[in-house]
């Protein structure tokens, strides 16, 4: 398996294989000695050389976060052979989705369909645990679509609006 992985804008090329059940690993062409035990679902005990790490994999809405000890990373993993990752990359340039950061209730919609919006401007207000949170536009553009109505219950990751 070969992956292109980017973290914080830096790109890595990772080659992984498991001849006879043991991992063999090359990072940017450099051979690395690794040994891994899945301690429980989503928890890997890694040995790199003789250094030991506990690594956690966390699924947050549609994102995957990797925790090394108490440090958090948001890697983007692409399998260059996979079609899905290519279409995902194209998605970044086009319309952007506004998603609910947590489950809650839509209490207000601040901008109407077709309205101009600045980057960072609030579009939808979601309430949870008696606190209100403005979901902000990730870019400057126009509101292509509002997908929720006031009073609606939403789950984390639900698309609230699309900005073009």
């Amino acid at each position: 398996m070969t992956y292109e992985i980017s973290i914080q804008g830096k790109n890595y090329r990772l080659e992984l294989s498991q001849p006879e059940g043991r991992w063999s690993c090359r990072l940017n062409g450099r051979e690395i000695e690794v040994d891994a035990v899945l301690a429980r679902p989503n928890v890997l005990s890694l040995r790199i050389g003789n250094k030991a790490y506990e690594v956690k994999c966390e699924h947050v809405a549609s994102d995957v976060h990797i925790w090394v000890g108490s440090q958090r990373f948001a890697p983007e993993v692409r399998d260059p052979r996979s079609l899905r990752s290519r279409s995902h990359a194209a998605d970044e340039q086009g319309p952007r989705k506004l998603t609910a950061p947590m489950p809650g209730k839509v209490v207000r919609i601040l901008l109407a369909q077709g309205a101009e919006v600045e980057a960072g401007a609030g579009v939808v207000v979601v309430e949870a645990m008696k606190m209100q949170n403005e979901v902000k536009s990730p870019k400057k553009g126009t509101i292509q679509k509002i997908l929720v109505s006031e009073g609606a219950a939403v789950s984390a990751g639900d698309v609230l609006a699309i900005v073009e």
């Binding site: 990072l27 301690a39 966390e58 958090r72 645990m129």
Partner: protein, 510 residues
């Protein structure tokens, strides 16, 4: 002794009280709202009864529904926990009328301490110092002006029925007084249905120190030492510790004796807490009395070796305090972190949702009082407190060391929590040297966090890259565990489990 106790609460405190019941051989009855059927307190209880919709006003705050469950289940006492109905004198009265023992003070004692102005009047009568100002609600703007001049600016306007910072205004200069008074009044009216507002001198960046008291129903009252609760955000406590680093034995005795006098003045019984503001010269002033078990009671339990919930139940059962003031000894140091479902990257906004992975800390000096479990969905309808992590040590440094170690073991996945905030606090030089006051946390949060949201540490980044690739390779096989993390190993594992299933089916068919 009681045979069965109903716990009129949810979350970690309901679990805490259920555990105490079971330790004493008492059956525990849980109540739950529609969104709490899967909550931990329901799993731990002996009996559980639904009490209605998610909205607290239609479930956990509904006195009649709770009394109905008490009657149906045959409970002989009710523990209210904290929050919800715990400081509601009408509830205490209704319990008594229904012939069910309320585990807490009497309704009369709650009435005496429930209003901040009435409590100040009571303190005036027994000669306990409170922050200079009025002990009655303000009658006019002119009166407010006069008192403010007398005590000197800055002054604080406070709602008599207040709590949680509502109806509270800090006024720095005379020209701001009028508008502040009007807005405090209307906010208090809206929040508590009572616009009574009083005035006191503002003590800038005080310490907030409280004294635990315990009184039986035979006239014996003791104090169990103080808790330092200066670390607050939006007037909510975040970290508490006992003993306070600034209180010496002499100050503890003076504060404790006053707290006992306060409790006795109110005819107080059961567990209660007397809160004080402490200025830079260590003068302390009565602030208010909390007529319930506090969230932060475990730090007192650890340094005194007492179990406050057991004692609450024994006192409610009519027993005498099993020790005297001289028997109470403070030993070691304890610090509590309140783990909230809050997003540190989004101004600590609540973050409910499903807990997909939970790794709990353990080991020497660590206590975890929790209301959550892996796979549980934190509902969006209640306070975001998930759990409390308490570290105990021979001294403050050891307690900090143990707590820091435990925070590094602690992992809650799927939702955001404020665990990272405690790492920052416990590492902060001012916290380490105990230079803390109620402004500490706001000041710390204004400083730029040296730890960015996402890390860029070169070594850890490489580890994350490798692990990300492995998780991607394992895919759904990462759901198996305890095996060498290989695709082959995982599939062998799956076959093994199905063999077990085949064998079990064969057994069942015999």
């Amino acid at each position: 002794m009681f045979k069965k106790i109903l716990i009129a609460n949810r979350g970690e405190i309901a679990v805490r009280v259920i555990r105490a019941c079971h330790e004493m051989g008492i059956a525990a009855v849980a109540v739950y709202s529609d969104v709490d059927r899967a909550a931990l307190h329901v799993r731990k209880a002996d009996e559980a009864y639904p009490i209605g919709p998610a909205a607290a006003s239609e479930s956990y705050l509904n006195i009649q529904k709770i009394l109905d469950v008490a009657a149906r289940s045959g409970a002989d006492a009710i523990h209210p926990g904290y929050g919800f109905l715990s400081e509601n004198a009408n509830f205490a009265r209704a319990c008594t009328e229904a012939g069910i023992k309320f585990i807490g003070p009497t309704a009369a004692a709650m009435d005496a301490m429930g209003s901040k102005t009435r409590a100040r009047q009571a303190m005036e009568r027994v000669g306990v110092a409170f922050v200079p100002g009025t002990s009655r609600g303000l009658e006019s703007f002119e009166q407010a002006q006069q008192v403010a001049e007398q005590v000197g600016y800055p002054v604080m306007l406070k709602a008599a029925a207040g709590g949680g910072g509502k109806g509270m205004r800090l006024v720095h200069a005379a020209e701001d007084l009028k508008s502040a008074l009007e807005s405090a009044r209307s906010e208090a009216e809206r929040a508590f249905g009572d616009g009574e507002v009083y005035i006191e001198k503002a003590i800038i960046n005080p310490r907030h120190i409280e004294m635990q008291v315990l009184a039986d129903e035979h006239g014996n009252t003791v104090y169990l030492g103080e808790r330092e609760c200066s670390l607050q955000r939006r007037h909510q406590k975040v970290v508490e510790e006992a003993p306070s680093p600034v209180v010496d034995p002499d100050m503890r005795r003076r504060m404790g004796e006053i707290a006992v006098r306060v409790a006795q003045a109110a005819g107080y019984t059961n567990a209660g807490t007397v809160e004080f503001l402490v200025d830079q010269e260590k003068n302390f002033y009565f602030l208010e009395m909390n007529t319930r078990l506090q969230v932060e009671h475990p730090v007192t339990e650890l340094i005194t070796g007492l179990d406050l919930v057991h004692l609450q139940i024994r006192i409610a059962n009519g027993e005498r305090l099993p020790f005297t003031q001289d028997d109470v000894k403070v030993r070691g140091h304890a610090i509590e972190c309140r783990i909230y479902a809050e997003d540190p990257d989004n101004n600590y906004f609540p973050s409910p949702g499903k807990i997909t992975l939970l790794l709990l800390p353990s080991g020497p000096g660590i206590r975890s009082d929790s209301g959550m479990y892996e796979g549980w969905t934190v509902p969006m309808d209640y306070d975001p407190l998930l759990a409390k992590l308490i570290g105990y040590g021979t001294d403050r440094d050891q307690a900090i060391g143990r707590l820091t170690r435990a925070l590094n073991e602690y992992f809650v996945g799927g939702i955001r929590t404020n665990i990272s905030l405690f790492r920052r606090i416990l590492n902060h030089p001012d916290f380490r040297s105990a230079k803390i006051d109620t402004g500490f946390l706001d000041r710390m949060l204004k400083q730029k966090n040296e730890q960015p949201d996402f890390q860029a540490d070169a070594e850890a980044t490489e580890v994350a890259v490798i692990a990300a690739g492995m998780f991607a390779t394992l895919g759904s096989a990462a759901a198996g565990a305890g095996e060498r993390a290989t695709r082959d190993g995982a599939s062998v594992n799956a076959e093994a489990s199905s063999n077990w299933r085949v064998a079990a089916r064969r057994e069942a068919l015999r």
